[in-house]
Symmetry: C2
Subunit: 76 residues, 2 copies
């Protein structure tokens, strides 16, 4: 089964990568880009029977730095 | 309005970052992780009236390297 994890910097944490993208889009002539946040998406191919609780544990232990990042899990 | 872009390496393109995560999960004792792919997620805060076509142009010009990466756009 598949699981997808989104890891984003928490609100209030400076995102220089997103800021660089916003700047570059402006330089390319795209107007009206008010903000950009960049994060990670991790697609896991898991053995059948894996639970969301297991994926949550993976996030807490490895995939996200919960001091500055939040994560969201999609199973299926 | 918000748009979210997922950028993933195309199938067949080696993903050393994902492979490292798979390896690390195994080392932490998580079993049954058959594969991991890691990509980027970019959240755009756009002025009202922005269209998917504009976001597609952003992807083609800046956000994705379409030689090795595929992208998916979610509006709303």
């Amino acid at each position: 089964m598949k699981a997808r994890v989104h890891v984003m910097l928490k609100k209030g944490v400076l995102d220089p990568q997103g800021e660089a993208v916003r700047h570059a889009l402006g330089a390319l002539g795209f107007e009206g880009v008010n903000g950009v946040r960049q994060g990670k998406v991790i697609e896991l191919d898991l053995a059948e029977g894996a639970t969301e609780a297991t994926v949550k544990e993976m996030c807490e232990k490895l995939l996200a730095n919960t001091v500055i990042e939040s994560y969201a899990i999609e199973m299926g």
